[in-house]
């Protein structure tokens, strides 16, 4: 058992943290958000240069052969700065589906483009009626010659509005909530019959609702088997849970720092309000929540590599519970300790609160995952 990073990992951590520290202060972030896509393509190019866009992909496919720990390192650093670029959407979600289900040909064609920053992906799986039930897929895929025709609606597709290539899930067979019969397809964003409505999300990122009306794709668009798309999505969501947990930890860490800095300098009653024990103990609650979440983010990172789906599911559910709850404590206390300025758009703390809230809402919130965990019998055996 050891918690140390390797030499390479330490270098990776240093370089990503340095980039973010240099380029991603709160004012710069506002500027990037105001750019047409809602993020900075200039920075995207720098991520490519740093090597983090190709990080988790195998070297023979044009990636850098990184593992879950490397992703954790990157996501934590990006979380500190509330980075707006579609790293999660491209590398973890869309790229994750490709990595886990793609044929050699598909991977070797697409991954080099991801790694060099010229191609962005998104995962279009969720649908309006599904809430957090991953199996609820109403979109359909029908065979058409050697190709397929897709119909349906996808919603809340993270960075779906600026992605070049979409990974779309659609039902080939079975009832709307059946575990089998879902397939994944690589669909170019400019495909005929595909319409996107992009919007800003509560946390300043972007997403899109996507309509598919008789969208025709070739046989080579099928990603993986016709029947195992859902298993791939579940696996990718598990990776995403690990990744966003690390992101949340980065955000919580920074939110705590901002809050402590603030209460050390804000004076009321003739002294720094950080002298008041009522506030000190709330800050300590933030710290405790952060460290417990950090522990679980590490646990999730380790368990993302676990082969047993049931064990992995328990671990991910447990992680979501802890990270969701911790995020809420850190976000709420952070705003409260800032007083009135905490609820203004001009102060960073509120933006951390919003991002932490939306991370919780994204892949199933804490309560949802508590239900999953308890239905799976929890973590420990009876004895």
């Amino acid at each position: 058992m050891d918690f140390d990073l390797s030499e390479e990992q330490r270098l990776l951590k240093d370089s990503v943290e340095r980039l973010v520290a240099d380029k991603y202060d709160f004012e710069s972030r506002k500027r990037y958000g105001a750019e047409p896509k809602g993020y900075s393509d200039g920075l995207w190019a720098q991520y490519a240069e740093l090597g983090i866009l190709g990080l988790p992909f195998a070297e023979e496919d044009g990636g850098f052969g990184g593992g879950a720990v490397d992703t954790m390192i990157v996501m934590e650093a990006l979380g500190r700065a509330l980075v707006l670029e579609p790293y999660l959407a491209t590398v973890v979600l869309g790229g994750g589906a490709l990595r886990r289900a793609g044929s050699a040909a598909q991977k070797q064609k697409i991954i080099p483009q991801i790694a060099e920053g010229s191609l962005k992906l998104a995962l279009a799986h969720a649908e309006p009626q599904a809430r957090y039930n991953l199996a609820n897929v109403a979109a359909t895929a029908k065979r058409d010659g050697d190709g397929w025709v897709l119909n349906g609606t996808k919603s809340g597709v993270l960075h779906g509005d600026s992605a070049d290539l979409l990974v779309v899930s659609a039902r080939v067979s079975g009832d709307q909530t059946a575990e089998n019969g879902v397939a994944l397809f690589l669909v170019p964003a400019d495909a005929k019959g595909l319409a996107r409505r992009g919007y800003a999300t509560q946390d300043g990122l972007r997403a899109a609702d996507i309509d598919l009306a008789n969208v025709r794709v070739g046989a080579d668009a099928l990603l993986g088997g016709e029947d195992d798309g859902l298993a791939v999505v579940r696996r990718v969501y598990d990776d995403a849970i690990a990744a966003t947990s690390a992101e949340a930890v980065g955000a919580m860490q920074r939110a705590l720092e901002l809050t402590v800095e603030y209460i050390k300098t804000r004076n009321q009653f003739g002294q720094a309000i950080g002298n008041f024990q009522a506030l000190q103990h709330q800050a300590v609650d933030m710290f405790t929540a952060l460290e417990q979440a950090r522990s679980m983010a590490m646990y999730a990172t380790m368990m993302a590599q676990e082969g047993d789906a049931n064990e992995r599911a328990r671990a991910m559910a447990a992680t979501r519970v802890q990270v969701g709850r911790s995020g809420r404590v850190v976000g709420k206390n952070g705003v409260q300790l800032h007083g009135g300025v905490g609820v203004t758009i001009e102060f960073a703390i509120g933006h951390y609160f919003k991002r932490l809230t939306m991370i919780d809402a994204m892949f199933g919130d804490a309560d949802h995952h508590l239900g999953i965990l308890s239905d799976l019998g929890g973590l420990l055996p009876a004895a």
Partner: protein, 398 residues
């Protein structure tokens, strides 16, 4: 970063487990599982079994009976010990006074006391708190006045755990009343049989006798029983309190309780559906499990850091006490919930004869007393509010 245990560490765990399987008397295991305290005789016998194996004081230096295990192995050992469940070696000997003597004591003190401590030939208790000095320990008033080759001790200690069993007490006493509070304190070892010592029981809310008041009336203590230097006792006390940080989370014990609750909750009682089928109960338990898993990982981070940082405390270690005590308390509460109306019957430790056996099973009868009793864990060892003050100051810089 690799958070799994190595093959050697797993083999070590098996070795420890196998030892507990054969060496731990079944009756003792059953007693702990049912939520009872162990008697003095049981504690002594078990610690001697451990000592014979060389495992009573694993974290001490090898020359004084330690094992030389690295922090990870020590952690595994403790987890298996608590998970068995087996009694832990008496903390006053193994974790508190022993390490202080090893670090600051004289050669004679080491030679005389340490082997007897490890073997529980002497049962030690801790004389720190006083009626007027709880969290603010440095304000303590018990005095030790030098008189020839002895100190004469006067004053009162309180909350002294298991003083009724004790052969010796390690005390903080004031040797220089004119110095600043922290500067005038000394660390003194006192034989409980010395004339002038009176022990009076304090009965805790569940009816148990676990703490006491200890009065000192002109008690003569040989000067050679001073540990280290006069007036440096506060440093030794801080060292002692700092040592407890890792063990205090008691993750292994809480894991044992969770497994136990799950087993009991999966049984149908009186023809009712098992409690585990109740979604509210199940989710409550799952929520504690999440906190416990997080705490376990936090504790392992601290343990792993100890191996590399050599003694420098990890900021994360400060939360072990807070979270560990909260989880332990919640689990005792879950036991009460599980027992339902069967938690009601009154079965004080050392029944006074007016109670006839109740029909409820033992685990249900001990559930409420343990819940009541466990309020203590967020109070002693530096209360949880004091822990928050420490984090606020030392970690957050407030």
């Amino acid at each position: 970063m690799d958070l799994s245990f190595t093959l050697e560490e797993q083999a070590f765990r098996e070795e420890v487990r196998a030892f507990f399987r054969t060496a731990l008397p079944e009756q003792l295991r059953a007693k702990l599982r049912a939520g009872h305290h162990v008697s003095k005789e049981e504690q002594v016998e078990w610690q001697r079994t451990l000592n014979k194996k060389g495992w009573a004081v694993p974290h001490w230096p090898v020359e004084w009976g330690g094992t030389g295990w690295d922090p990870v192995r020590q952690y595994i050992f403790r987890e298996e010990l608590m998970g068995a469940p087996a009694p832990e070696p008496l903390a006053f000997n193994a974790s508190m006074c022993g390490p202080v003597i090893i670090q600051f004591g004289s050669e004679e003190q080491k030679k005389h006391f340490l082997p007897r401590m490890a073997n529980l030939d002497d049962w030690w208790c801790q004389g720190f708190s006083e009626p007027g000095s709880g969290s603010d320990l440095a304000s303590l008033k018990t005095t030790a006045r030098r008189d020839g080759d002895a100190y004469v001790v006067n004053g009162q200690k309180t909350w002294t755990t298991l003083a009724q069993h004790a052969d010796w007490i390690f005390c903080l006493v004031r040797t220089d009343p004119s110095a600043k509070p922290q500067r005038g304190i000394s660390f003194l070892l006192i034989d409980m049989k010395t004339p002038g010592i009176t022990v009076r029981p304090i009965i805790t809310i569940e009816g148990g006798h676990e703490v006491n008041e200890v009065f000192f009336d002109d008690v003569r203590v040989p000067a050679e029983n001073l540990v280290g230097e006069e007036n440096r006792g506060w440093d030794y006390a801080k060292f002692l309190l700092g040592n407890e940080r890792v063990g205090i989370a008691r993750v292994g014990a809480s894991k044992e309780r969770v497994r136990r609750i799950k087993l009991l909750a999966s049984e149908s009682r009186h023809g009712n559906p098992p409690m585990i089928e109740n979604a509210r109960f199940r989710e409550k338990l799952a929520a504690i499990e999440v906190e416990l898993k997080a705490l376990e990982m936090t504790q392992m981070r601290v343990v792993a850091n100890m191996a590399t940082l050599e003694g420098k405390p990890d900021p994360a270690s400060s939360i072990l006490k807070i979270k560990g005590s909260e989880i332990q308390q919640t689990l005792t509460e879950m036991m009460v919930e599980l027992a339902g109306p069967e938690a009601l019957a009154y079965q004080p430790h050392g029944a006074d004869g007016r109670n006839e056996p109740a029909a409820a099973p033992e685990w249900a009868l001990t559930s409420a007393p343990n819940f009541f009793n466990y309020r203590k864990v967020s109070i002693y060892g530096g209360s949880n509010e004091i822990q928050k003050n420490i984090i606020s100051k030392q970690v957050l810089g407030l």
